[in-house]
């Protein structure tokens, strides 16, 4: 294969022709709204990818527009001709990733993040444990008081203050890998614990299992599962993403389950697209498609089983900030809201433009901090207008970002952000069968 044709393939040049440049993606693109120029719109980016494939521009001309993309894929939902923007974006990222002359330190730190930390359960547990130690030992308070975290590189300090309280290492290790349904079993599900969810939002995972078993599901947790590879794929590290995907597919193939459940919108989307990841790979494409066909968000399974009642009143008005990949890729829109409406509260109020990305977007808010905060600020304006005191999300990144938004607005006393699953447990979820 000559290199020009190879480049066209990797950039999904053919797919760019499906864009008729109608511009229907412009009004839904968060970066077009805040950055106010066509290079930061989906239509602009697709055109630039095409221009690179035709050798009219250089890879470096494409870098900024691609790096500033959130990858929320709201454009795919708006697109009247079903252009697969996600595919074009990941292709461009891969090409840019390979074109880049990286410094030695950058290579080492990236390899640490992508190759070591995200796929490793031990590492993730350690992060969780360290965070727990950090919070409980009083170091957090001291650091916050002295303002040390503000000077941390990449604004990590800002995120550190919004981390949830973590369970002790003792309860973390104690989890068995099968949880039986309370009452009669309706389905058997596998649970993807997710690396970030499991490390930092361990409590949410425990609540997920709790809800599933109460709703009548046997829950299996294969121990060999690993990171879904979303961050790798979004960063253009397709090879790494594939090897992680293979491990997950193998881990769940061994179990007999009706569904494979996850509680993180971003991971769910990636798991659902494993088939696409292995396109053309005869053996793995079929296995991946089988795997993906079982992927469900927790809200889908709870809605389908319809076996929970909510017994406790939650104090406050609720609004919902959906995860982009949950609505634009998984196409799960109504289920979380219908669950929230079952909760006894002061009511559910919809946020204007709720489908718009909050600016979290994987590690976007860390690497493009200022751009992300501009997007967050416009999101918070809409959140405030609902007068809700509980902002519910369905993805760990969004949850941290909303917590950060609440802090930026100085609303910590009156508003809180919470994962859907945690709110459902707080609302006193019990099996309906106990009543009937």
């Amino acid at each position: 294969m000559n290199t020009a044709a190879g480049l066209k393939d990797r950039l999904h040049y053919k797919e760019t022709f499906n864009c008729v440049q109608c511009g229907y993606c412009l009004p839904v693109c968060p970066t077009y709204e805040t950055m106010k120029s066509e290079v930061h719109s989906p239509r602009g980016r697709i055109n630039l990818v095409k221009m690179l494939a035709e050798d009219k521009i250089k890879a470096e001309d494409l870098r900024e527009p691609i790096e500033k993309c959130l990858g929320c894929r709201a454009c795919e939902t708006a697109c009247p001709t079903s252009v697969q923007y996600g595919k074009i974006l990941e292709g461009a990222k891969e090409v840019l990733e390979n074109a880049e002359q990286k410094s030695r330190t950058q290579k080492i730190s990236e390899s640490l993040i992508f190759d070591q930390i995200f796929p490793s359960k031990r590492w993730m547990n350690t992060i969780g444990n360290l965070s727990w130690f950090y919070q409980k030992s009083g170091m957090q308070k001291m650091a916050q008081r002295t303002g040390i975290t503000q000077f941390a590189p990449l604004h990590l300090g800002k995120f550190e203050t919004v981390l949830p309280n973590l369970p002790s290492p003792w309860s973390r290790q104690n989890r068995a890998s099968v949880f039986e349904a309370s009452g009669s079993r309706k389905v058997t599900v596998g649970f993807i614990t997710g690396c970030v969810m499991d490390a930092i939002f361990y409590e949410t995972n425990r609540n997920t299992i709790d809800l599933l078993t109460k709703a009548g599901a046997d829950v299996l947790i294969p121990q060999n599962q690993t990171c879904c590879g979303a961050l790798h794929a979004h960063a253009g590290k397709i090879k790494d993403a594939k090897s992680l995907a293979k491990r997950n597919i193998e881990a769940f193939e061994k179990e007999k389950v009706d569904f494979i459940v996850n509680n993180a919108g971003g991971c769910g989307a990636t798991l659902l697209e494993y088939g696409e990841l292995f396109k053309g790979d005869e053996e793995w494409e079929t296995r991946a498609k089988n795997f993906s066909s079982k992927i469900r968000d927790i809200s889908q399974v709870l809605t389908e089983l319809d076996s929970l009642s909510f017994t406790k009143e939650v104090n406050g008005m609720i609004t919902f900030q959906p995860s982009c990949h949950m609505i634009n890729v998984q196409k799960v829109k109504e289920e979380p809201i219908s669950l929230l409406k079952q909760v006894k509260s002061r009511g559910y109020r919809e946020m204007k433009d709720k489908e718009r990305c909050c600016g979290s977007a994987g590690i976007y808010n860390i690497v493009n901090y200022d751009d992300s905060m501009e997007i967050l600020d416009s999101k918070m304006k809409n959140a405030k207008n609902t007068n809700a005191s509980i902002i519910v999300t369905s993805n760990p990144g969004c949850l941290l970002q909303m917590k950060l938004g609440i802090q930026r607005e100085g609303l910590e006393k009156s508003v809180r952000a919470v994962h859907l699953v945690d709110l459902l447990v707080e609302a006193g979820a019990v099996s309906k069968s106990l009543f009937y």
């Binding site: 511009g23 055109n47 630039l48």
Partner: protein, 466 residues
């Protein structure tokens, strides 16, 4: 160029000037055909900036192309001779409704749909509804005189403009019309500017007429086994004393494409589907709908469904909305035309289109605004296939000829731009076109404003290949 750059940076804040290759390529296209690289892109946000810039461009002889959000289907904003693209889309902050005067005053970058949304808060409506209204700017709509489905009952953009503020190609700021419905003071320059495709001036403010929002709507779907019958039904309804707000048609090829794309249970053996929307007082449209149903009983082989509620109405319109995504699944390139014929000639036009489809062996799909004769013949093709594109070019040429021969026009709502320029003389005659050219020369003696549009170059032909 360097000297010019220095002058420009004196009048425009640096954050509004884009010169990188990526930026320039990002304003090189619209939703039609062709890509032309401008030297720079400038975002403007007030009339003084535009006035100074045009004076400069006029002195240095630099072409300037106003652009909204680039949704044009005729090449309106394409920088065909290089120069400066003026991005007007970020000048979107001014939208004031004066409910007692029933007018809206807007800046050029405001989205068309936003005007209607704001008007609705006062129980009013801005009727023009191009399908891209949620993306397109009012400036672009004014320049192209855009229409939409509601054109049948309410007319098009030009019917709602009563006043403009315009910067001329020589940099003068003028006002045309005013805030009153009646106004016969001097020539009607407002109507001249609207639809002039950005060749006579840059619109910096518009005063738009609003109408009371009809309290209710009702939707009907009629399925015809015979296309000619559907044409007759359209005429019959329009002469019965009822004026629907919308009357859209889908031909058999559109129906099949939609069913293949997303099965909605449409009858694929039917030759046409008509969608009719009535608006007005709930009791009145109830009565009108009954009357239309009665009219349909005179026709054979037609099945009629009336939507019980808004949800059902939405599901009917969904079929029409899905035509565009459905047809590009067949092949990626969509050549979307808007040749328009007198309403009575709709059946003849359908016959002509059928002949053209067979003669050039092209994938021709027809849908659109049947009630006002504004059909959208769309040819689905692949622009990488040169042999096919040559056939498409010939077919398009023949569609134009057919429309003009039937007493119609090249363009009902998309504009002439670059694509239809070669056919102008066919419709207007040499003298008619020359009068237009003379107007352009008086307004823009150095031909700096949106050159290459409307008027054909010597020997210019339609080219859809890249």
């Amino acid at each position: 160029m360097e000297l010019l750059m220095e002058e420009i940076s004196r009048i425009i804040p640096s954050g509004q000037i884009f010169t990188s290759l990526a930026d320039r390529y990002s304003y090189s296209y619209d939703a039609s055909f062709g890509s032309y690289l401008p030297e720079m892109v400038i975002q403007v946000k007030n009339k003084e900036e535009i006035s100074s810039l045009l004076k400069l461009a006029n002195t240095f002889n630099i072409p300037v192309y106003p652009r909204g959000q680039g949704t044009s289907l005729s090449g309106g904003p394409l920088p065909v001779n290089g120069g400066i693209v003026l991005d007007m889309s970020q000048w979107n902050g001014d939208l004031n409704i004066y409910p007692d005067d029933l007018v809206a005053v807007v800046s050029p970058g405001v989205l068309t749909a936003t005007i209607n949304e704001e008007a609705e808060k006062f129980g009013l409506m801005y009727p023009p509804d191009p399908s891209s209204a949620h993306v397109s700017t009012i400036g672009g709509n004014l320049a192209e005189n855009s229409g939409g489905p509601r054109g049948l009952k309410y007319g098009v953009t030009k019917d709602y403009v009563i006043g403009l503020e315009v910067v001329t190609p020589e940099g003068e700021i003028i006002k045309t019309g005013g805030k009153t419905i009646k106004n016969v003071t001097g020539y009607d320059l407002t109507k001249l500017i609207v639809g002039s495709e950005g060749t006579l001036g840059i619109i910096t403010e518009a005063t738009l007429k609003l109408v009371p929002k009809p309290p209710a709507t009702k939707t009907m779907m009629a399925v015809f086994d015979d296309l000619v019958q559907s044409g007759k039904a359209i005429s019959k309804i329009l002469t019965s004393g009822i004026l629907p707000a919308k009357m859209e048609i889908m031909d058999q090829f559109s129906i099949i494409a939609v069913e293949n794309y997303q099965p909605l249970g449409l009858p694929i053996d039917a030759e046409a589907i008509l969608l009719i929307e009535l608006d007005g007082h709930p009791l009145a449209i109830e009565e009108e709908m009954r009357k239309i149903e009665e009219i349909f009983t005179e026709f054979e082989s037609v099945r009629v469904k009336i939507a019980k509620d808004q949800d059902e109405a939405k599901s009917y319109w969904r079929a029409r909305k899905l035509v565009s995504p459905a047809i590009v699944k067949i092949k990626p390139t969509k050549v979307s035309e808007d040749a328009t014929v007198p309403r009575s000639k709709i059946p003849d036009m359908f016959q002509k289109l059928k002949e053209i489809r067979e003669k050039y062996d092209v994938h021709l799909v027809v849908f659109g605004h049947a009630g006002d004769g504004n059909l959208h013949p769309n040819i689905i093709c692949d622009k990488r296939d040169t042999e096919e594109m040559i056939r498409v070019e010939k077919a398009v040429e023949e569609i134009f000829k057919a429309a003009v021969e039937l007493g119609g026009t090249l363009s009902g709502e998309h504009g002439i731009g670059t694509l239809k320029a070669p056919f102008m003389e066919m419709e207007l005659g040499a003298a008619g076109l020359d009068m237009m050219k003379r107007i352009k020369q008086i307004w823009d003696p150095n031909n700096i404003l949106n050159p290459g549009k409307i008027f054909p170059e010597e020997g210019q032909k339609l080219v859809l290949r890249e």
